[in-house]
Symmetry: C2
Subunit: 385 residues, 2 copies
């Protein structure tokens, strides 16, 4: 989806930033999405998936809303602590961890961990009296473009035997979790998986194993990349229906990342070079697949564009990023305005899995981030500590 | 290509490092490859392509051999200066640059730049009295897996008109350059393109345009990823043949990156998790496609492996990286030793486009780098300044 707008209108973006490329963080949008998803999932505790975007002001915005956090590494825990988030508001949901990683997380005060196999269980034995564990199960969402059910998750038919082994080893597994995959088209798989977990929790009780008191329904809540804006309330309806059958003693968790972080940032970049080549006009932008557009490569996403130009001519074109690598190409369009040097392009819904996976290839630093509520100030972002 | 070796033999690698994952830099190998390519291309000045691996000790090793440097950004210039390399030993070969980028490079003292279109020429006008420029031409190497002729390079038939425009604008274009693509199977395209440039330089002289005094034959020199080790002497034979026809006043340059940096580093990592899943054993390593293995994604390369294990069993398996993302998968093997926790895998030829494009996704820092000549010391590497 491409909007073509007058070149002068770019000032609404350019006035916010010092230089291109910049990501503009909108805390109001972040709060709005957090609120909407909270209301769409009443009684569910939301743990923001830090991995999708660890930008400190975004973390602070969610923390101020009373949000909790889903972490995948001790570096993320450290970063959150640096932002004043107490470890009691974090869960560590990575199913595979090094011993060092576990030791650091436990020492920080995080008490909830995830396993999906017995080899991982053994690593947790030294900490069994101070932690609780969730068992990750594998469910396939046929409508999610990113399948997370292959790399992680025990098959449902192995669940009871893993819970048995854990119990024999003195490890308290009292939670179940899953991740149906990213950017799900519907919440049907969430709902089915939640129902299956509720069924399983009955069997667990019948077997006399430690009672299931937590079910984490993971992420997969969509951002608005194409088509109509996402309505969390309708999206979550199938989940709410199953929730009515959940016994009171089971706390339900969710781990939205993309749904919150994607709409909270837009990328402002400009045309820094152009050349007419064999296959049409090439427009070179100051951000590409080694920068914030790394999401195209790692995350498979494409972003809505607003193009600010005074050009009236149209032509076939290729967009490319600023590095000297041939993979750094952003798309081909059979018909596009023939852009001029310094024309502005804003990519929307750019907060998730973009800055988080940016590189420094060619010595080019990732885009600066500007907080829309603090115009003119470039806020430091450090991804590791 | 996979070697299976006894688990205890891993000590030859583990003794060099403090922790896994680590990249081990071998300065002797770096010098060896630099020397071999220098001898294979007599009379050609080698400019190491910094983008392939900007690790400071590697830069220092090449600088100590009297090498020159090909840079793609002012950040790379700054980094080289920090290592004591004088700007007179650098050329800036990125065909598309921002005004700021050009200003910074000129202020640093770099005097050679590249263009491939007239829009780029205009940017150089303010500096026309202090710089010289090479015109990048586009040649397609049918045997190079990475085609660099689409994104950059003027078609040969446009060359004289661009040189004309430059001359009228008072910009001195006295060089020609090209890049036939990465990891070329033969140097036939190098040789053909060099011959075409020599022909063109005659026409340039006939037309009374500023004489061509430099031809840069770019990179594309291969590393040893598969098959037999690379013999630079045989590989470069076609280039040497054309060089015998080059007039004395033309200085020939080349920009090897991968051929030098790839063999100079190996990646030592270990199994940090394993699980038997629907599709066989999954082995989780402590480096993956968001780390040094980013070269698999961005650069399309696969690396030779040495596996150190005491396992005798074989099974189908999947290798995966340490992040929670499903794209972080390293390969599937129908038959592989069933590895144990902490078994070691060394990936060879891992110096090019690996560390240079590593991310910090999940808060996981890129692998540490250890200089083999300075065992036990982890050397700082900073990609941007």
């Amino acid at each position: 989806m491409i909007d073509v707008l007058p070149r002068e209108s770019a000032s609404i973006w350019l006035d916010l930033i010092e230089t291109t490329p910049s990501l503009v963080f909108d805390p109001a949008m972040c709060r709005h999405k957090w609120g909407a998803l909270t209301r769409a999932l009443p009684g569910v505790t939301l743990y923001y998936a830090v991995k999708s975007n660890p930008y400190p002001d975004l973390i602070n915005t969610i923390a101020a809303e009373g949000g909790c956090f889903d972490v995948a590494s001790s570096a993320e825990i450290k970063m959150l602590e640096h932002q004043g988030v107490h470890p009691s508001r974090m869960i560590h949901t990575h199913p595979v961890k090094t011993d060092t990683e576990i030791e650091r997380a436990v020492n920080s005060g995080v008490t909830t961990f995830v396993v999906d196999n017995v080899d991982e269980l053994w690593k947790l034995i030294p900490y069994r009296h101070v932690i609780q564990v969730m068992l990750r199960l594998s469910f396939i969402a046929p409508d999610a473009p990113i399948d997370l059910s292959r790399k992680f998750g025990a098959p449902i038919q192995d669940a009871l035997s893993i819970l048995d082994v854990a119990n024999d080893s003195g490890i308290q597994i009292n939670g179940l979790c899953f991740h149906v995959g990213s950017q799900a088209a519907t919440a049907n798989t969430h709902a089915d998986a939640l129902a299956t977990c509720l069924e399983l929790s009955k069997k667990v009780k019948e077997k006399g194993l430690p009672e299931i008191v937590q079910i984490d329904i993971g992420g997969g809540f969509p951002a608005h990349y194409i088509g109509e804006p996402v309505d969390f309330d309708s999206f979550c309806a199938p989940i709410r229906e199953v929730l009515t059958n959940a016994p009171d003693h089971i706390q339900v968790l969710a781990e939205p990342g993309r749904a919150i972080s994607a709409p909270s940032m837009a990328l402002v970049c400009k045309v820094i070079g152009r050349a007419k080549r064999r296959d049409g006009w090439w427009f070179y932008l100051d951000d590409g697949v080694y920068g914030a557009q790394s999401g195209r490569i790692f995350d498979g996403m494409h972003y809505r564009m607003s193009v600010f130009t005074s050009s009236n001519e149209q032509s076939g074109c290729v967009f490319a990023g600023p590095t000297c690598d041939s993979i750094d190409e952003l798309g081909r369009y059979p018909k596009f305005p023939v852009l001029n040097m310094n024309d502005i392009i804003v990519f929307h819904e750019m907060g998730a899995y973009t800055l988080a996976s940016a590189t420094q290839f060619n010595g080019i630093a990732p885009p600066a981030v500007v907080n829309r509520a603090l115009p003119g100030q470039i806020r430091e972002h450090r991804l590791t500590f």
